[in-house]
Symmetry: C2
Subunit: 279 residues, 2 copies
Amino acid sequence: METRELRYFVAVAEELHFGRAAQRLGIAQPPLSRAILQLERRLGVLLLTRTSRAVALTEAGSVLLREGRAALDAVEAAERRTRRAATGRPGLVLVTKAGAVGELLAKLLDAYAAEPDSVAVEVILCGIAEQERLLRDGRADVALLHLPYDSTTGFDTEELHAEGQVAVLPAGHPFANRAELRMADVTDLPGLPQPRWPRQDGTYADGPGPQVRDLAQLCQLIALGRASAILPESCRAQLLHDLAVVPVPDAPTVTTVIAWPPHSRSLALASLIRTATRL
Amino acid sequence: METRELRYFVAVAEELHFGRAAQRLGIAQPPLSRAILQLERRLGVLLLTRTSRAVALTEAGSVLLREGRAALDAVEAAERRTRRAATGRPGLVLVTKAGAVGELLAKLLDAYAAEPDSVAVEVILCGIAEQERLLRDGRADVALLHLPYDSTTGFDTEELHAEGQVAVLPAGHPFANRAELRMADVTDLPGLPQPRWPRQDGTYADGPGPQVRDLAQLCQLIALGRASAILPESCRAQLLHDLAVVPVPDAPTVTTVIAWPPHSRSLALASLIRTATRL
DNA sequence: CCCGGCGATACCTCAGCGGTATCAATGCGG
DNA sequence: CCGCATTGATACCGCTGAGGTATCGCCGGG
């Protein structure tokens, strides 16, 4: 199977429309039809069911969509990492969620910079759930993730830090002066729903609660008395001053891990990981 | 980058010889030279240094070799899994080391077969260190691995079983009747070296000690008084009767884990994993 | 019943892949 | 120092196959 065929199939499988897929790929529709047909013939597998009004994935087709995306990411990563290796400037790219790492990141970067063999570290702060993709397609070398929110599936990891979580409420809320709260107290506050974060694909789950993209947005909403949240303790430092913070001992522990793709064990990366685990 | 280019590059990088690589690929040498040249031009990266007598990898070239192999495995896995999904017969392929799983495997297969939604499980027993490759290129769906001997890098895992290790000695050896031994006692027995197992690429490390491929071979050698070994307790059941077995409490614990590729979460696989963790 | 939208087919052109023949550089034996 | 063998690069050619345009066949909606 050639990557061209895979790219074509993934485009069609995502659009479920040959015309739009062809447009997205920058080719005409007939060659695309033929390419998919030929792919099906070569694999000996029916990937799509087409009526003249609708295109749908078969069982095998959805397997190829999932596996094909992973394979294309791997090819893209190979290309990108090769280009980067050729520049001669080593340098690592670290990706993490904007605002969620507290002072751990600063400490890590300082400690690593003090190492004798350290190289430049570029930091990318991205929205939730983009990290995985950046790490997978080679744009980033290493990430700081937070269990159980992020998935580390397919990466190697080391645990760095575990912490409890706190409830964040508008100042003046009846619960604001409690010494601690239970999960049950906080998950269903009348008029103060938990926010909804974007999923891997950028869409939001249905349900009540405002859609948020980052911590600043969330803080605003809480201050306005329109939401509440349960966040790792270390977020405290970055909250607005007029928010109430109450520990929630029975909330799941949040573990910060450093994650990297299972290949790519460059010396620089190994050194950064070693530094991180020693913090 | 097309998979054809990657395959060509990997062949040349492994052979370090255009002629032999071309032969292995089943094409003539000139098209191969051109393809590599074109790949280098497209990437804008020098991958190989050629003198007219020798070919060597550049830094970037070895990155592309490593990443390219992984990418090719991913493409191959996509193809294989798609084909398998299309047959309509579900069925899982489980791979593990010949002889090293004791009764755990039997219990797992029995328990899984008793599940209401179970499918056929094909078991592949292979030599050490082939498992990783089978799992990575899609020929297997799930593996039983043994930490710390196997690497789980790039796979998702669940721990199933932890056990201590025992020393295996020829019957009649002076240590045979000891209640237990220390690592220090066993690692350097005069005339009874530890065996050497093959590495990922099938070659053996240098050193003393016989080269072995499986447990039966090893048992023979120990019975002959030419080797000794430290093995997980559960191997006991499969040893020859005339061998002495002595616990080694300070040997590293061996953990049996069930491992699977991070994508491919079929229902059947999820059910098998659930069954395994409940044993 | 006609029209519009969609995927498949027919047919053409040309890029590029692979083959053969050959060159150029280099190490080696005499 | 000179053939000679080895090895990667280049020249040139034929043909496969990727992509384009025009068009067909099918189907649902007005």
